[in-house]
């Protein structure tokens, strides 16, 4: 995902002189082409995220389109108040691009995990929250975010994730991408669990269940039209995210659902538990600790269908 981001942001900077890239002292070689072509529009802001965020707002107030890039917890939680006041209260067009969403950097320890960022940022008035499901969606998401007249948070995984889409899909913030049609179960996947969600869909389909699959990349604003359709037609709707079950996509859908008198489907929320991980391990291992495996999801959904 991050290489797709580097490529697309370079293209956008070629096209649009307003694009300015701010890095929090990461991704150095990734941006070599950008720096060669636009040396006056790349700034390594150091390990100083509060300043980077405020500075980005200042750039935006002068008509530029700043794009900020560093590791999720430091770009979101660390400078949350700067995002709230400088970006959101002033409603400035900042594209806040976090790398290492969820458990992508599992082995670096829980300081580098980010299972609360979606919840924090979607509370902020005027903020859009976008979690692309693969590198192709990243390309579409970055383009849409830079064009958007308000703050957008784009949550990336890391690099080398499986690519799901054959090409860059039509991408609109707030409009889910339908990958499969189904009438029993609808899987709403946000972010880097899209490949796992496809495995879950395959396994369930093999048992004779009719499974729909959405890359529900935008957590805010919610695609209510899509939710209405799925909750009316299906028996089970499952949200799937590498994020806490509190406050993320599952939380957002649950809030929405609580006010829908005609909903038919039951909601299942898959995400991380309300606890930190303390032991070492890979992303795969970390997912297992939180029950985010194909087998667990398939079993839970089949149980709910009975």
């Amino acid at each position: 995902m991050r290489d797709a981001f580097a490529r697309e942001i370079t293209r956008l900077a070629d096209e649009d002189p307003r694009v300015v890239l701010l890095s929090g002292d990461i991704g150095n070689r990734m941006f070599n082409t950008f720096k060669d072509r636009h040396p006056d529009r790349f700034y390594n802001c150091g390990v100083a995220e509060a300043n980077m965020m405020g500075m980005a707002a200042g750039l935006a107030m002068c008509g530029l389109r700043p794009v900020l890039y560093t590791i999720v917890p430091f770009l979101t939680t660390r400078c949350l108040e700067q995002i709230r006041v400088d970006a959101c209260y002033h409603h400035q067009p900042l594209t806040i691009v976090g790398v290492g969403g969820g458990l992508s950097y599992a082995s670096l320890g829980a300081t580098h995990h980010s299972c609360e960022d979606i919840a924090f940022l979607r509370m902020l008035p005027g903020m859009s929250v976008v979690c692309p499901g693969d590198a192709m969606e990243v390309t579409g998401a970055i383009r849409a975010a830079v064009a958007h007249d308000g703050p957008v948070y784009v949550r990336l995984g890391k690099k080398g994730e499986p690519v799901v889409h054959p090409a860059v899909p039509a991408f609109t913030i707030g409009k889910s991408i339908r990958l499969r049609e189904g009438s029993d179960v609808a899987l709403l996947s946000t972010g880097n669990l899209l490949p796992l969600s496809i495995e879950v869909a395959d396994k369930l389909t093999a048992t004779g269940v009719s499974v729909g699959l959405e890359s529900f990349h935008t957590v805010k604003p919610l695609d209510e039209e899509c939710l209405n359709d799925l909750f009316t037609r299906c028996r089970v709707v499952a949200t799937i995210e590498e994020h806490s079950r509190l406050g993320g996509l599952g939380g957002a859908v649950a809030e929405w659902l609580s006010e829908q008198p005609a909903a038919r489907a039951r909601l299942l929320r898959f995400g991380t538990a309300d606890r930190f991980l303390h032991e070492a391990g890979s992303q795969e291992h970390a997912r297992k600790q939180y029950g985010l495996t194909t087998e667990t999801l398939v079993d839970s959904i089949r149980t709910a269908l009975r």
């Binding site: 150091g46 100083a48 980005a56 002068c62 530029l64 400088d86 209260y89």
Partner: protein, 277 residues
């Protein structure tokens, strides 16, 4: 415009009287913090800044950010006097539905560059604006006023380290060093001294002045850029509550609201005649 020193001093007296009146009418605190920085505000808006109230969003205008947002009523009074909006609007200050809250909201009135109130935000925003001038190849300057208490915030020092690295010599910081923060002597709460040396060590072209001496304020504001290739930091030694003997250096006036009698005393002191409340 631009004004002579005596005219600026007269304007500062007028603004001081108005700020005290607004505090009473709006039942709003932070009067001491306003009175300490009024000479800075007046010197900026009536002399130093290249601005046109009739074209308040001109891309090449100088920017001024009052990062210590709790002094906003004084800024409102200055903007109104400078012609950015009708003085009638001042009468609505801090009433239900007014565009003028105790601390400014974004674009609440023409001429107001950034919403402040939460401390430590103005300098990073100013750094971004100063950098935008370079990217856009414009010659405007960015002036940021901080409070000494505000310099407790880490984000101030993040910005203080970044601006010299980018040689932002169109950036001017003036710290209203009135020696008090909300509940204590600023030098006792945090180890801020040697204050000017800190900024110098971070790579700023540094000056120390009497921030309540109009001539010194005007002189230092005429230095941007000063040829050093560095951003400028000014430690402006001021007195909290400046100009009103019964408020000077008395931190009760961080929160106290003046009575009607006290407002009249100040109006008399400032040569403004009888006040209408």
């Amino acid at each position: 415009m631009p004004m002579r020193i005596e005219e600026l001093e007269a304007m500062a007296r007028k603004i001081r009287a108005q700020a005290v009146r607004m505090s009473h009418r709006g039942d709003s605190p932070h009067l001491g913090s306003q009175l300490s920085c009024i000479d800075i505000l007046v010197a900026a808006y009536f002399l130093a800044l290249r601005i046109d109230p009739k074209n308040a969003s001109a891309p090449d205008r100088d920017r001024f950010i009052l990062s210590k947002g709790h002094a906003a009523p004084a800024l409102y009074a200055v903007l109104a006097e400078r012609g950015f909006f009708s003085k009638d609007l001042i009468e609505s200050y801090n009433t239900d539905g007014s565009p003028l809250p105790e601390q400014p909201s974004p674009n609440c009135v023409p001429g107001l560059e950034a919403a402040t109130g939460s401390l430590g935000h103005g300098l990073p925003i100013g750094v971004g604006m100063a950098l935008a001038a370079r990217i856009h190849k414009l010659n405007y300057r960015v002036f940021v006023t901080l409070s000494d208490g505000e310099c407790n915030e880490g984000s101030v020092w993040e910005a203080a380290m970044f601006a010299p690295a980018q040689k932002l010599d169109n950036l001017f910081v003036i710290v209203d060093f009135n020696k008090w923060q909300a509940t204590g002597r600023s030098e006792e709460v945090m180890s801020i001294q040697p204050f000017a040396d800190k900024w110098r060590a971070f790579g700023w072209s540094t000056y120390e002045i009497d921030g309540n001496d109009m001539k010194q304020v005007v002189d230092v504001m005429s230095k941007v850029p000063d040829g050093s290739g560095k951003p400028i930091a000014v430690i402006a030694n001021t007195v909290k509550g400046k100009g009103v003997p019964f408020m000077e250096d008395d931190n009760n006036w961080h929160y106290r609201i003046p009575t009607a009698d006290e407002v009249q005393q100040v109006w008399t002191l400032m040569g403004q005649g009888n006040v209408t409340l």
